[in-house]
Amino acid sequence: METLLQFLHTGAFFNFTIGNLVMLVVGAIFIYLAITKDYEPLLLVPIGFGILVGNIPLQWGMNIGIYEEGSVLSILYKGVTQGWYPPLIFLGIGAMTDFSSLLASPRLVLLGAAAQAGIFLTFLGSVALGFSFTDAAAIGIIGGADGPTAIFLSSKLAPELLGAIAVSAYSYMALVPVIQPPIIKLLTSKKERLIRMEPAKPVSKRLRILFPIIAFLITGFIAPGSLNLLGFLFFGNLLKESGVTERLAQTARTAFIDIITILLGFTVGASTDASRFLTPASIKIFVLGASAFAVATACGILFAKLMNLLTKKKINPIIGAAGVSAVPDSARVCQMVGAQEDPRNFLIMHAMAPNVAGVIGSAVAAGILLATFG
């Protein structure tokens, strides 16, 4: 009987906290939202199940928990803490991203820059709320609306906040269709939302091959801190566009990114045990994250309106909201909002330009934060 008691002591009952219960509910909600609402399922399902795994309380010393050196989970989590899962995911994203819309309308790239103001304003707000510079930088990147970028930067600058930042970033990315439409409607007039943009000209194969090389050199020289993300993104894109490495691109955008996504999502989820996650800092991070998304959306829209003051070819300011990244959701939101005014106004292709530019923009911003505070 002593053995039985000893065994049950290793079980969860004695160590279970109310915090764990809360986290189990959070994990279940993530899975529920992913399945019923189709919100970011490829990440919310792994993260959600990971949260369940991370909140089964374990007796220390069984070498199972993600924070116990040498356990299986801790070994798989190294890709997060050492920061190499996100670059490999960027490799796969590069191999599946088509930059044609950006190349067709290069001036729309600037909208992707404007939306990154959300990052820096959130940084400012975080410092004001008392976070250290490194923590503030990691929190600010939530405004980049880009999961791997957020995980990469916070693993480098604020490892102890990684779980909260990752969960916050993916939560708000899932809520883009809820957050963005009211902001768009608030900041634009009906007349503006009705603007039709001229379809762009087709893009040559040569330009699509040259783009990843040239864009890499520009970003690499000015913001070398972004090399870990953009080096892999543009490498993946070159594999896709070169025309001679299709089998590598095919693997990068299927098996490779899937494997890394499974491991990344699962271990990020498993790292959020209640004692580390349910802290006042996390609540602040969620508030700051929400404002980061709102500010980024607003900046994109307002900058589009500013550009309209200066140029003749009018931009529909709705697509400024797509500058936050969250590819391709925010572009879809723009299409949706535009279609509410004029069902035959097809904004989605135009919105893809700031959308992918936003990915580059957030990675550059991450590079700047890393170079300054890393």
Partner: protein, 114 residues
Amino acid sequence: MSESIQFSLEFAVIGISIVFLVLAIITGAVTLIRTADVRWREKEERDDAAAFERDPTIDTTTLVLIAAACATMIQGRFHIRRVRRLMPRTSQQGTWSVQGRAILHGSHVVPKKR
């Protein structure tokens, strides 16, 4: 009987008991959910019948992209020729990005029901 054998015997009994305990609870839980599920299923079947008529056979984004492509062609006549010329060069795919397929990260599908 040596002490270690005695411990082992005791442990074996407890061990198999715990295995039974775990699987019995799973049996119970599954049985419970199955029962609850019957009611859900009945509702589900009514919904299914309705959904069968309502469901789109093509997803929204694809529809938007097709409509956009058509609109582009109609909008200016000179474009029609251009499209014809480009079609066979499959690697080029036209300007209208197939980005919509890059749904892996930073993305969820816009709910179909809206």
